[in-house]
Symmetry: D2
Subunit: 342 residues, 4 copies
C-alpha cells in the first residue's frame, strides 16, 4: 500500500438541505433516551431561531468539520441561524481553512499501524486521514497573512476576519465557514488560537521578525474575551448551540459572568443545547452539565438540553429539521462583526 492508496476516498460533507429530517425528529419527540433528547435539542434550537432579537452563538469543539459536518455549519450561517461562532483552532484553521485552500479530508480507518501512517506523512483523526504535506501549506499561508498585517496585538476574531478577506480573493473552495462568516458579518472567535495550525504559522512569523529585529503581530486572547462579552452585552437575549465542550463552551458561557465583572447586569444565556460524548464525572468543563453551569449563573435551566451522542449522527438531523422548519426566513441578521468596525 502506498500513500496514494491511503488518500483515495474523499470525505463528502452532508447537505442538510437535500433531505428533510422532520418526520424523524417529530417521531423522536415521542420516544425516549437520546432520541427524545435529540428532538428536544432541535426544538430548543428552533426556539432560539424563532425568538425575535435572540443572538445565537455556535460553539465547536472536536473534529466534526473534518468528519463531514463542515457544510452544516456553513448552511447555518448562510441561512441566518447563527450570529457568532466560538471554536477550537483545529476546526477553523486545520479543517475549514485547509479545505478552503483546496485540500481534502479522507476516509480512513482506526485499525491501522500509526507508524505506517507516520512514514507516509499521513495524519489520522480517529478514522479520518489528512495529508501532512498539504497541512503545511495551511501553516505557511497563515504566516503570509500575518506578514502582511500591521504588527500589533489582534484578537483571534480580527485575525480570522483577515483570513476571510484573504479567502474572498484566493480561496479554491468558495464556500468555507470562514469566508461565509466574513461575508455575512458573523464573527468567529478562537480563544486558544495558537493551539492549531495557525500557531505554527504565527510562531514562524514571530521568530523570523525577532531575528530581523522587527516588530511582530501578537494574538491577544484577552481581547477575544472582551469582544465576545461586548456582543453578549449588546445582544441581551442569547442562546448557545454547542457541538462538543472544551474551551469554546466555557468561553461562551463565561461571557455572562464577565459582563457582571464589568458592572453590567447581563442575563444568563436563555437557551442552551450541548451535543457531547464527554463524561460528566471528571469535573472537566467539556462535560459539565448545563444544570451545573446554572449554579455559576451562566445558563438558565428552562430551555436547556444535553444530547449524549457523537455529533455526526444527530447534528445532521437537528440542522435539517430547523432548516426545513424555515423560521430562519423571518430573522434579521445581527451583523455583529460591524460593532468592531466603528
Amino acid at each position: 500500500m502506498e500513500k496514494k492508496d491511503l488518500l483515495k476516498q474523499v470525505i463528502k460533507h452532508i447537505d442538510i438541505k437535500s433531505f428533510d429530517a422532520s418526520p424523524i425528529i417529530n417521531s423522536m419527540r415521542e420516544m425516549s433516551f437520546s432520541s427524545r433528547e435529540t428532538a428536544n435539542a432541535a426544538d430548543i434550537f428552533n426556539m432560539m431561531i424563532a425568538e425575535k432579537g435572540c443572538t445565537n452563538i455556535l460553539t465547536i469543539a472536536g473534529s466534526t468539520s473534518a468528519a463531514g459536518c463542515m457544510q452544516v455549519y456553513v448552511d447555518l450561517i448562510k441561512h441566518n441561524m447563527i450570529d457568532a461562532v466560538v471554536s477550537t483552532g483545529a476546526s477553523i484553521v486545520d479543517m475549514d481553512f485547509f479545505e478552503a485552500l483546496g485540500y481534502k479530508h479522507y476516509r480512513g480507518t482506526q485499525f491501522i499501524d500509526d507508524k505506517f501512517l507516520r512514514d507516509n506523512y499521513v495524519d489520522r483523526i480517529y478514522d479520518t486521514y489528512i495529508d501532512e504535506e498539504e497541512l503545511q501549506a495551511c501553516d505557511s499561508t497563515i504566516k503570509i497573512i500575518a506578514d502582511s498585517l500591521e504588527p500589533r496585538p489582534y484578537s483571534s476574531r480580527e485575525f480570522i476576519y483577515e483570513m476571510g478577506k484573504y479567502l474572498s480573493e484566493n480561496s479554491v473552495k468558495k464556500e468555507s465557514l470562514i469566508q461565509t462568516c466574513y461575508e455575512h458579518n458573523v464573527p468567529i472567535f478562537v480563544p486558544a488560537f495558537s493551539d492549531c495550525s495557525a500557531g505554527f504559522g504565527l510562531v514562524m512569523h514571530q521568530v523570523e521578525r525577532m531575528k530581523e529585529g522587527k516588530p511582530y503581530l501578537t494574538i491577544d486572547s484577552v481581547a477575544d474575551f472582551r469582544e465576545l462579552t461586548d456582543i453578549k452585552i449588546a445582544a441581551k437575549t442569547t442562546g448557545l448551540f454547542m457541538i462538543g465542550g472544551g474551551v469554546p463552551k466555557n468561553f461562551a458561557q463565561d461571557t455572562v459572568v464577565c459582563a457582571e465583572c464589568l458592572g453590567i447586569d447581563a442575563s444568563m444565556h436563555k437557551y442552551a443545547v450541548l451535543i457531547t460524548v464527554a463524561d460528566v464525572r471528571d469535573g472537566a468543563c467539556s462535560s459539565s452539565t448545563l444544570k451545573e453551569a446554572s449554579s455559576w449563573g451562566k445558563v438558565d435551566t428552562v430551555y436547556e438540553q444535553m444530547v449524549y451522542a457523537e455529533a455526526t449522527t444527530v447534528l445532521p438531523l437537528i440542522a435539517s429539521y430547523v432548516f426545513h422548519k424555515g423560521d430562519w426566513k423571518n430573522r434579521e441578521p445581527k451583523n455583529w462583526t460591524k460593532i468592531f468596525q466603528k
Copy 2:
C-alpha cells in the same frame, strides 16, 4: 402533582416505513466517526438480508423497546428480515408483552425525586415511566399461562411460544413482537428468562404448586442454548444484528463454539453488527468488540461493524434504510420455529 400527571405522555413507537432514511445513510457513508459506522452497519445488515440462505439473528438488550423502538423490531419480523430473536427478559416480557396486554410506557424525566415516584408506584427507566400496578398484571398473566401448561421443563423459547398463542387469542394491542414472531414462525429465546417480570409469575406458579404438593413447570436454560445451537447448525450461514450487549449477545455468539463442542464444524457468524454505548475497557461481554469475539472463533471479521451510539438515535435510520432498500422482498422465510415442532 399526582400519579395521573406523571403518566400522561404516552411513548409512541417510531414507524420506519413512514419516512425514508436512505438519503441520510447514503450521506453518512461518505462521512466519518459514528455516522460512517452507522452507514456501514446499515450496509452490512442489508448484505445479511440480501444473501440467499443467510439466517439473521436479532439480539436485544437494554430498553429500546420501552423507549420507542418496539415497532421497529416488529417491522423487521413482519418484513422477513429476521429469523430468530435472542433477548433479555425485560424487552420481551416487561415491555412487549406488557404493551400487548394493553398497557403503555410514558415519557418522563430523569430529573425527579425517585422517592416521589416510589410513593406513586411509578417505575422509572432513565426518562421513561411505567405504572407498577399495571406491570403486576403482566406477572399474573405469566402465572396464568404457566398454570395452564403441562408441568415439565420448557426452554424459554417454548414458553414464549405459548405466550404468543395466548396473545393471538387475548391481546389488546395486536401487533406485539411476541405475537408477530409467533405468527411468522420466528423463535424468541430469553436465556435469563427469570430475570424479568416472567420470573415473578413463574416463582408464584412454583411456590403455589409446591404448597399444594403438585408438580410444576421449570425453565431449562440449557435447552435454550441447545435449541439455538440447533438453528446455528441447520442455518449454516448466519448474521447477527445486535442491539446492546449483555447475555443475548454472548449467547448468540457462543452457538458457534457450542456446535464445535457437539463435533460439528460450524462456520463463524459471517456478519455482525453491534450498536452499543458499553465501554470496552472493563472486559465485560456487553462491550467486548467483535474483533475480540473473533479471537474466540465466534464472529468473522470481514463484515462486522460496531456503532458506538445509544440505539434509539441510529437504529431507526438503519432499519428505515434497509426497509426502503427492499431486498427483503426476495427473501424466503426460514420458519425456524418449525424445527422444534417435529
Copy 3:
C-alpha cells in the same frame, strides 16, 4: 511469535491482606469525584459488615476475576464478609472453576491481530489471554459432573454446590471461589447459567442423553430466583455489593419485588454499592442508577453509592480497607446454603 510466547506472563491475583489501603481511603474521603465515591463505597460496605444481622450479597459481572481480582472475592468469603454470591457464568465457570482445575490467565495486549490469536487457539478478554484448549477441559468437566448427577431440574445454586463438592476432591488450585463458598456455606447463583462454559458441557450432556434416549439434567432458572428470594425473606436486612451490572445486579435487586409477589412484605435492600463503567443513558440495567432502582422499590437510597470506575483499580482499595478495619471479625456466619439442605 508462537503460542507459548503469547502465554508466558501469568496473571497474579492481588492479595488485599498484603497491604493496607486505609490511609488512601481515609484521604479519598475528603477529596471529590470518583475518589470520594470510592471512599463512600468502602464506608457503606463496612457498615454492611458491621450491622448485626445484615445479609451481604456480592454480585459479579464483567471479567475482574480473570483480571487479577479472583483472590479478592475469595478473601471476602473466607473472612465472612459475604453471605451469598450472584454472578455471571463466565466469572464462576470460565474463570474461577478454570483456575481451580489448574489453568491460568495470561497478561496480553489489546493491540494484536485477533486472527493471529484465533489461529493459535488463544482467546482474548481485552488485554488478557486464555488458552482455548485448556478452556475445553472446563466444558468437559462440567459434563462429567452433570453425568454423575440424578437427572432432574437443578437450580444453578444446586449445580454449583456440586461443582464445589467436585473441587473439594479434585481441585488443583485449592482456594477457588467455588470451593471456598462450598466450604463456608455461601450459596452461589448464576441466573444465566448456560451462558458460559457450563452451557457447553450441559448441552453435551443433554444431547448425549437424548441420543441414548435417557433422562437428563436441566437447569431451572426459576428455582434460582425462588431460592434467592427465600434468602431475602429469611434475611430481612440485606446489603448489595455489586461489581458490574448485568443480570446479577438486576436479579439480586428484584428479590424484593419477588417477595412482595409472594405476599411477603420484604424491606428494600438497605445498603447498595455499585462499581461500574456502564453508561446510564441507554436505559440498560447494567447502568441504571441505584436511585432509579429505588423507584422500583428495590434499593433504599439512604446508604447507596455508585463508583464510576473500572473495578480492578478501586475494588482492591475498598476490599483492603474493610479487611484491615476488621469489623468482619465480629460477624456470625449466615450459612445460607443450609436452608436448602432441609
Copy 4:
C-alpha cells in the same frame, strides 16, 4: 439550609508522601485492565524521572486540583520530577491561585438543585462547591497584578511568573503550585489564559485602561507556543505526564511539529502517559489516543500508556509510587524558567 451549611466540609488534598502505594502498584503490574494500565503508567513516569537529561512536562486539564490532588502536583514540583507545566486556566487560577489567597474548596453533592446553589452564590464542579464571592477576589487580584505591570504583550508564562512573585509576598497558603513553580524555576503555560478567572481580571484591566485612554497589557498566546517550543528544542529528550486532555495536551504534543516548522529536527516526545475518561470516538483531541498522536509525529509509541480512569482514583497511586521509588533524588533541576530571563 443556608449557605454556611453548604460550605462546611473542606476538601483536603491528598499527601502522596504519607502512604506508600508501591505494594499496590507492584500487584497491579501483574493484573489486567485499568489496574495494569495504572502500573504501566507509573513505570513509564518513573522511567522519565530516571532518564538523565529528560525534560518532563506535566499537563493538567479537568478539575483534579479542586478535587483533592492539588498537593500532588506541588509535590511533583518540589521533588524535582517535573520541569514544565501546561494547564487549563481553571486549574491554575480558579483553583490553585484561589487557595493560595486563602480560600477553600468544599465537598458537596451533584444531587442538588442548582438554582438553590445559584441563589446562594455557590458554584458547583460535579460534587464540589466554591463560594462565588471568594472567587471574585481571585478576579480582582489578577487585575491588581495586571495594573502593576508594564503594558505590553505577555506570554501566559510571563504573567503567571508575576503571579508567583505576587504570592511569594502575599500568599496565605504558602505552598501553592504557582509559588512552588516560581521558586523552583518551573515555567507554567496556560495556552487559553483568558478562559478562566484570569480572563475576568484582565478584561477589567483592559476596559478600565481603554476608558482612560491608556495602554494596556495583552496576553500573546503565540508567545506561549513559541516559548514552549524553545524548551522542547533545548531539552531534546522529553516526556509528557498528562492528566486529562484538552488544549494543554495538544499544545504540549504540538511543540515537536512546531520545532520542525522552525527548521529544527526535534525528536518526538519519548515518553507519554495520559490519564483520561474522554471517549476516543468523537475525534476530539482530549480523547485522541497516543497512537493516533504518533501518526502526527508528536509522540513516540514505545513508552506510552493511556489510563482510562477518573484521575483522582489513580493519580495518587502513581505519584506515591514514584515518590517512594526515589529516583527523583538523583535528578538535576532543569530550571527552564531561566532561559527566558536572559
